[in-house]
Amino acid sequence: MELIWDGIREAARLWWAGDAQIIEITLRTLAISSAATALALVVGIPLGAVLALRRFWGRGLLVASVNTGMGMPPVVIGLLVALVLWRSGPLGGLDQIYTPTAMVIAQLLLSLPMVVGFSLASIQSINPRLIGQMWAMGANRWQVLWLLIRETRLGLLAAVMAGFGAAISEVGASLQVGGNLAGETRVLTTAMVLETGRGNFEVAIALGVVLVVLAFAVNIILTAVQQRRFIT
């Protein structure tokens, strides 16, 4: 147990000392995971809305695939992205393997199902007559989407947080497609794995603490937004 305290103390020390490496890793983590989450939202919410509101052939299968996506192991995603980006792969010529871009792609694929799945669930839980009212008020397709997002912000913010959580906490895919290269693609989780393997449990915990504090800060903000407008 005292290891945990050591870890927390170590985290405080590293930040206090302004350790260049940890700051760099933290910023990189934030940048990659935010980019992945933002992309996942842009693609995922409209997709969730379409799945929620339109009936079409193959929809059921698609919904099940989205849900399966939530249980898709990061290692599998990582492997698939790697196979595509490896030199021998179809997009090998782009030279994107072991770059932050590759990591954004992998994390996007990981968080997308979360975002789609929860957008779907929360938009489906809106009274369909209220959606009729939105159209009736003269909203076009994008305005309806905007109103749906407004109405379901409770559920969607949960989706944002799950998506961001999936992206930032993930390690398997980041290792595979990022390579955990020092100074290039090392993020908090991959650094943690490394330190754990090195037996530096304190440092690993310190990195974990940083990650959790980071996630917590993001969540405090999002939760404040989420809960602000909730009225009994």
């Binding site: 595979q176 991959t190 490394l194 530096n200």
Partner: protein, 275 residues
């Protein structure tokens, strides 16, 4: 002491050894002979040694002589015995831009790789380091030091720290057309999937890779010292030593591990230099 689970033995070992599959063959034999089940925990070398120091494992099987000796000096382990050895190889792209193929002097080869990497030549190849404090990484650092160099990812563009296990590092090197230092076992196991890497520098006695077994000190409490001792004995037994020597020999045409039960490192190195 009380509270010891006599029926199980926790063996902390390194990923590269576990990935070879050797222990999966040996453990069942030990289990059937003694009735003690072996829990093989495969982690990074650093973590394995740390588990020993904390008393979270009964017996350790690793390949980082310097770090192991520190454990002995600290009294964390009550014994350290050589079990087997094999060797490290520097592998790299077949076109070998630094031109180190066939060199026997590791130090010279490393200097040449560094120089060519730093030259900024168009075909300059990187060197991919494990960067994870594993036995292999420690060996690599020792070799650089011996060559009078101390490359770092911060200052040297051609030097990359992967921070992952051996197979991941080989994959990265393969993709990036980089040089790297690998243990022979992992290289052989992966060779089918890393066609863009070939062995370039090998045979230097400094490239030997020693695997030792250590019994965790019984004073740490709840250590199954009896089974740990039995496991050490077991590994040194001649029939088991023979099995180690034969492991996958048919498949690769050479021994993956050369038995050296109870010998000293210097003796083995001497013998190798003589060959």
């Amino acid at each position: 002491a009380s509270g010891i689970n006599e029926d199980e033995l926790i063996l902390a070992t390194t990923t590269s050894l576990n990935d070879s599959g050797l222990l999966d063959d040996l453990a069942p034999i030990f289990e059937s002979e003694t009735g003690v089940s072996v829990k093989i925990i495969s982690v990074g070398t650093g973590a394995a040694l740390r588990m020993g120091a904390e008393g979270d494992a009964d017996v350790l099987l690793t390949h980082a002589p310097e770090a192991e000796r520190a454990l002995v000096e600290n009294g964390d382990v009550s014994s350290r015995t050589l079990v087997a050895y094999n060797d490290f190889v520097i592998v790299g792209p077949p076109d070998d831009p630094a031109g180190v193929a066939g060199m026997r002097d590791v130090s010279a080869a490393l200097r040449q790789i560094a120089a060519h990497g730093a030259s900024g030549a168009e075909d300059a190849a990187a060197f991919a380091s494990r960067g994870d404090d594993s036995g292999t990484h420690k060996k690599e650092i020792a070799l650089w030091t011996e060559a009078g160099l101390a490359p770092s990812f911060d200052t040297d563009d051609w030097y990359e720290e992967v921070g992952q296990g051996m197979s991941a590092t080989l994959t990265v090197a393969n993709q990036r057309g980089a040089y790297t230092l690998t243990d022979r076992g992992t290289y052989l196991a992966l060779s089918a999937d890393i066609a863009d890497l070939v062995p370039l520098v090998e045979g230097d006695a400094r490239l030997l890779n020693f695997y030792s077994v250590m019994e965790v000190d019984g004073g740490k409490g709840r250590i199954n010292s009896e089974a740990a001792a039995a496991f050490r004995e077991f590994l040194l037994r001649s029939d088991i030593q023979a099995m180690i020597g034969d492991y996958l020999r048919a498949e690769y045409g050479r021994s993956l591990f050369i038995p050296a039960g109870g010998e000293t490192e210097s003796a083995v190195a001497e013998r190798a230099r003589a060959e």
